[in-house]
Symmetry: C2
Subunit: 390 residues, 2 copies
């Protein structure tokens, strides 16, 4: 995919871009040739995305011409993970008096911004998802983008009609956008938490829950309580922030979130990354030690872990044995069928093998079931069951 | 390690070797330069080993001059694993009426042979282990090598004084050698099972247990019974063989063996290979489906799995938290202290960081405790506990 999508690049454009980025022209040319800097397709072909992290410009950063210069929407900054809450928080945020703790929700990362007069939903990788864009326009108060054309919403698309990470746990009927950051175009600078919350309230945007600000000394203990409670509801975890948003945030997740990741990974055991699996397992080890769990709690944890690994594995093998193909089921709910068609083309373009079922009318919208085929795990399992080797 | 150990290579030697192997000289020169074909050191510097699999010559194969030609001791052939017993056995051994089933014991692979008048214990990788060599001379009836100078014993060193894979499960007091194959020098051809057993009996060699020969149609079922029983004793599994040893064997292991591997891997979670971990887990999935386990059996299996992963992880993290360094404890029992010194130098040469404690006299021998330090997991765990990121 993407190979050659840049086509011929105008040398004048390269020169201006090099000047804007402060790179030399040869380097910009190279980024184009390698598709590290890639042009979007179709009606968004004026948008370029960084397909790799380049000199501190995050992967997924998007760039387009504006007047005789350019404008940039920075990617999602990677949030580092605390493997243990204490002393990581104290050490990392040393110098601060308090940290703010917000919920880390489990959805699909999306930036929403007005670009050349149009509202766009930009994915983590820097693509324009037609479905997410339609939903964002439907769900968000668009006056915000007229009032603050220089600001970008950084949030999560959540709910069962999110075709990427469908979740029922938030009590959302279809999809909603929960915003966690507001950042400026170009600089990528975030607003302070208080300013962000004020603006989000003004426009009645949904926002991730804030569990309060905690003194650095007691934060680890307080956050452990919050994370345990979130875990009971199968929620993911927290993001720990500098209230002024000068230091970058940290994240920390619940055991249930680790296990949920593992359930998914072992269902498609031949696709999922080995490092992905290991990291989730190791987190469980550090959490049980940090939380000083007794044997009963420990037993509960390792049973949960064992089941999260072996049950999906068994289900997948059984399914293939019973002649069923392994797929991930997802669904979308669209206002216009055109959006579904565009979304289908979009997935194809990304190399995702998906089957769209017949649209079912629901209210004034359409619900469409999507089956994403997991060919690798399917074929490997089939071969093993037929007597082949791993 | 090993870099440059080949030193200057005599061009005449290269020419003769190329002729013997049927390679061109440039290729042999290249193998030397890359150390894919490497000279052993010290008093065994006349021995060369294949450090990589080269044109169907197994890694660990050993070669030395004999007269005006060469002699070869072939490496351990890789044994393929059945992920499911049925239909793999039927398919793989199709054409045979019966398969022989032998125990796969969990020890340290070693070939014992007479080379230039000297008994040598050659490791899987093709090194001469001074400790294993001393033990082999002590434990084996050496007349065999005079009677059959062209044969090589392929076996396992087992027991608690095996410093590589110490195991108490076989009821061995110190170490013993259990032989599973006899193969010819040069060709590497194995003797048939009946001929092997007869010879091994003649010299009172210990040999891996044979569970009998099973018709191809019922073998999967019979082997499942054998493997379940082996598992109950924490034994590893079986090797399924063509009685004539024309087709290469297959292996299949117990759940307990998978879990035992996982316990070791997760104790040293930062050293162990991700693929190693995943493969043991996936085997559990196929076994539970093939054996059609009910929910109680399945629960037992996933609890076992969860505990085998999380318990050693917790132990390691706790140990580091308590200020202890992570190490693997092993021990050796030597007749002469010189062997221990040589073994220490040998481990150092292989890049293994090991501390030898004071020898304790035991009978007419010495017992020596060895601590192998696991620096990577140790340092990573320490760093995380001090608030660093993964």
């Amino acid at each position: 995919m993407n190979k050659g999508e840049n086509g011929e690049i105008d040398p004048d454009f390269v020169a201006r871009l090099a000047h804007y980025l402060g790179f030399d022209e040869g380097r910009v040319q190279h980024l184009f040739e390698k598709n590290y800097f890639a042009r979007n397709w179709g009606k968004h072909d004026y948008l370029f995305r960084f397909d790799k992290e380049i000199s501190h410009i995050e992967r997924g950063t998007v760039l387009y011409e504006k007047g005789d210069s350019f404008e940039v929407i920075m990617g999602f900054p990677k949030i580092r993970r605390a493997m243990v809450l204490d002393p990581t928080i104290k050490k990392y945020f040393s110098g601060l008096e308090k940290v703010a703790v917000e919920e880390k929700m489990n959805g699909y990362n999306v930036r929403v911004a007005k670009v050349k007069g149009e509202i766009l939903a930009i994915t983590r990788s820097g693509y324009i998802c037609p479905y997410t864009t339609e939903r964002a326009k439907e769900k968000l108060d668009l006056r915000f983008f007229d009032d603050f054309p220089e600001l970008v919403l950084y949030g999560e698309m959540l709910g069962p009609d999110n075709p990427y990470v469908p979740k029922e746990i938030y009590g959302i009927e279809s999809v909603e956008f929960y915003i966690f950051d507001i950042r400026e175009k170009n600089s990528g600078n975030p607003l302070s938490i208080s300013r962000k919350r004020k603006i989000l309230e003004e426009y009645s945007f949904l926002q991730v829950e804030c569990f309060g600000e905690f003194p650095l000394q007691t934060a680890a203990e307080e956050i452990a309580k919050v994370v345990r409670k979130l875990g009971e509801k199968e929620h993911e975890g927290v993001v720990i922030k500098d209230p002024e948003m000068i230091l970058a945030p940290l994240k920390y997740t619940s055991s249930q979130s680790n296990c949920s990741d593992l359930r998914h990974a072992f269902r498609f055991y031949n696709e999922a990354g080995r490092d992905y699996m290991l990291s989730r397992i190791v987190r469980e080890g550090f959490q049980t030690v940090e939380w000083n769990e007794n044997e009963a709690e420990f037993k509960k944890r390792y049973m949960q872990l064992g089941e999260s690994i072996l049950n999906p594995l068994r289900e997948s093998i059984r399914s293939v044995k019973d002649g069923k193909r392994l797929y991930e089921e997802a669904r979308i709910r669209v206002k216009e069928l055109k959006t579904a068609t565009e979304f289908g083309n979009y997935l194809k373009r990304l190399g995702i093998d998906a089957i769209f079922e017949e649209p079912q009318p629901i209210g004034n919208e359409y619900l469409i079931i999507i089956k994403k085929v997991n060919k690798s795990t399917n074929d490997k399992t089939q071969a093993i069951l037929e007597g082949e080797f791993w």
